[in-house]
């Protein structure tokens, strides 16, 4: 494994709370140039909360109660609003989960680009419209849509506009929060193919949040698995794809995936119900559903061990 490049974003022991509930508990992850880190977890795991929190873009009533999030060396959790505004859109761009309804219905597509450029000091005279046109072409949209109203575009097209807006100022880091969950599988595939191509050309770092582990095995360089607000495993995607998952929950998720055509195995569900962050089980939060659980697991929360392959489990070693 080559020495990982200097991380564009490095998140250390991030904790986030909604009132008394700790929705994210000391989560750490990092992403370098050209890398794609996948954040995967089921509903209520806190994957979106963690990523939005790290960027300080988590809406009320969420609040950050601990940890650091260094973007190009600066801790976002220590910056004030103006300093953050300089970076939002320029140094880190977010493609939100509700991208289908994220465009301002009262502004044309072109206006969205113009205002984003203007917010970061790019005067209209400096060819903003041409750049916007080339960005639309890059994501497979006809530039004439610069003059279209958002409601006139299909879901897939609006998603592409949101991605193009994310790339408007060539940010070193692009964060996508379940960008294709609401789309049909064919449109999703087309958008992801384009995204991988754009990353190969521009070399930006990418954080991709989804519940679709199978998709991350193809798309991501590394995968971070969250359960009930805690990081349970973080490893190279290739290792997980080759069956090298160590944490029982990750193994359970992989076993629950439907088989690929020609694959012999039958999927197996994980018993029990997902843990609720508002009332988490004591110790390791996965112990009620874990086949390897020992008495110790329901008492003491496991430490995260390992560097290139991190695991938070009493019974399994990291690497």
């Amino acid at each position: 494994m080559a020495e990982p490049t200097v991380p564009v974003l490095e998140v250390q022991d991030l904790s986030i709370a909604y009132g008394p509930v700790r929705a994210v508990d000391r989560v750490s992850f990092a992403v370098g140039r050209g890398e794609t880190v996948g954040m995967v977890g089921e509903s209520g795991s806190g994957k979106s909360t963690a990523v939005l929190g790290a960027l300080r873009l988590l809406p009320a009533p969420g609040r950050i109660v601990g940890g650091t999030a260094r973007l190009e060396g600066h801790d976002l959790l220590a910056l004030d609003a103006p300093a953050l505004r300089e970076r939002w859109g320029a140094r880190v761009a977010l493609v939100p989960q509700g991208a289908l309804s994220s465009l301002n219905p009262l502004l044309r597509v072109g206006d969205h680009f113009a205002e984003t450029f203007a917010a970061h000091g790019v005067r209209p005279s400096e060819g903003g419209r041409e750049r916007a046109a080339s960005l639309l072409a890059k994501v497979g949209l006809d530039p004439r849509h610069l003059d279209s109203w958002p409601h006139a575009l299909s879901g897939g097209m609006r998603q592409r506009v949101a991605i193009a807006l994310g790339l408007a100022l060539d940010p070193p880091l692009l964060v996508l929060d379940e960008p294709t969950t609401a789309l049909d599988v064919v449109v999703e595939r087309e958008i992801l193919l384009q995204l991988v191509q754009l990353q190969r050309e521009a070399g930006f770092a990418m954080v991709f949040v989804t519940h679709d582990l199978a998709l991350l095995l193809e798309l991501a360089t590394r995968v971070a698995v969250l359960y009930a607000g805690r990081l349970v495993e973080e490893a190279p995607a290739a290792v997980l794809a080759a069956g090298g998952a160590r944490h029982p929950y990750t193994r359970g998720l992989l076993a629950a995936l439907p088989p690929a055509p020609g694959e012999a195995r039958l999927p197996v569900s994980i018993p029990g119900v997902a843990a609720n962050v508002a009332d988490p089980p004591p110790g390791c939060r996965y112990h009620p559903r874990c086949p390897l659980a020992e008495p110790r697991c329901s008492v003491e929360a496991p430490a995260t061990r390992g560097t290139t392959h991190r695991v938070a489990c009493h019974l399994v070693e990291g690497a």
């Binding site: 009320a60 939002w88 991208a99 465009l103 219905p105 502004l107 984003t116 970061h120 409601h151 949101a162």
Partner: protein
């Protein structure tokens, strides 16, 4: 196009108002004009009775024919002759009143809507600030007073006690009506107190509508995505939050027109302001039914017209409605 559907709705409502106005006097048992004549116990000579029958369009002709002549009269702007202002035609009497009502009630309405929406937007933007915690209960308490009672209290305190403002009529006796400055100044001075009470009474409603809409808009995806692109607070406040929140408020503004105008009419009475309200009072007290019916028509048509204007405005502002 739903604008066409909305406008046709207003035409239909106007027709219903006309027909209701035609049916009402005839729906009463007995011959309405005779009943009225009896009520006047001879204070009316037979010739006035004839005028009364004419104005009510009552004759022995079949109902449909009466309806047609009634509509014909309306088309020619003849609303019959007023009893209280006998023999002045109703149309003329109303014409003067309508002007003053539009000036007073219209002005107060626009000021209240603009001020209320501005305060509401600011209260939502500064969630938790004093505008958000103190103003809403205060304004909704003021709003709980009936319009005309606030007018009475204001007229008594600021007018009679402190004498800061005139409390009767639309302009002072010392000025001559016309397009000259001191007439305009006097008209404004006379409109200030009644206008202010109307603004205060309705401010709370507009503020709460805008604040609740704005709170919703500030949590929606477009604003969040704007923030994520580093847009300035000013841009987010004006081009995102305010514009998105204004549309639903404008629609509720259109719907509330009828209600607010009613309140304004009562305020005019307290101040003896020579608008539609004053006429309405005199018509009721003088049982001047032709004037009463004329007022009903003009007020209803005015409200319908205003609603249509608001609807056109909403469609003009919202591209989604234009497709």
């Amino acid at each position: 196009m739903n604008l066409v559907r909305r406008l046709s709705l207003y035409l239909l409502a106007a027709w219903v108002a006309l027909t209701l106005n035609f049916i009402l006097p005839r729906a009463m048992p007995g011959d309405p004009a005779q009943a009225l004549y009896a009520r006047f116990q001879g204070r009316l000579d037979p010739e006035a009775l004839g005028a009364l029958r004419l104005t009510l369009g009552i004759s022995d002709a079949p109902m449909f024919e009466q309806y047609m002549s009634y509509l014909g009269q309306l088309a020619r702007g003849e609303l019959g002759t007023s009893l209280v202002y006998f023999p002045a035609p109703v149309g003329e009497v109303i014409g003067v009143g309508l002007g003053w009502t539009l000036f007073l009630a219209g002005g107060a309405l626009i000021v209240a809507f603009a001020l209320g929406s501005g305060l509401g937007a600011w209260a939502a933007w500064r969630r938790g600030g004093w505008t958000d915690t103190l103003l809403p209960p205060l304004l909704s308490f003021l709003g709980a007073f009936p319009y005309f009672w606030l007018a009475m209290a204001a007229a008594w305190f600021f007018g009679v006690q402190l004498g800061w403002f005139p409390v009767r009529h639309a302009y002072g006796p010392e000025v001559t009506p016309g397009w000259n400055l001191d007439f305009a100044a006097s008209a404004v001075r006379h409109a200030l107190l009644p206008g202010a009470t109307m603004v205060v009474a309705s401010l709370g409603g507009w503020m709460l509508t805008m604040r609740n809409t704005m709170v919703g808009v500030l949590g929606d995806e477009p604003v969040r995505f704007g923030l994520a692109r580093g847009l300035s607070p000013r841009r987010l406040f004006v081009d995102y939050a305010l514009r998105l929140a204004l549309l639903p408020s404008l629609t509720s503004f259109g719907m509330a027109l009828g209600f607010v105008l009613s309140g304004a009419l009562l305020t005019e009475m307290v101040f003896g302001y020579p608008g539609q309200g004053m006429l309405l009072l005199q018509a009721v007290r003088g049982q001047d039914y032709p004037l009463l019916q004329g007022l009903f028509l003009t007020i209803t048509l005015a409200v319908l017209g205003a609603n249509a204007v608001v609807d056109v405005l909403v469609v003009a502002l919202d591209p989604r409605a234009r497709s």
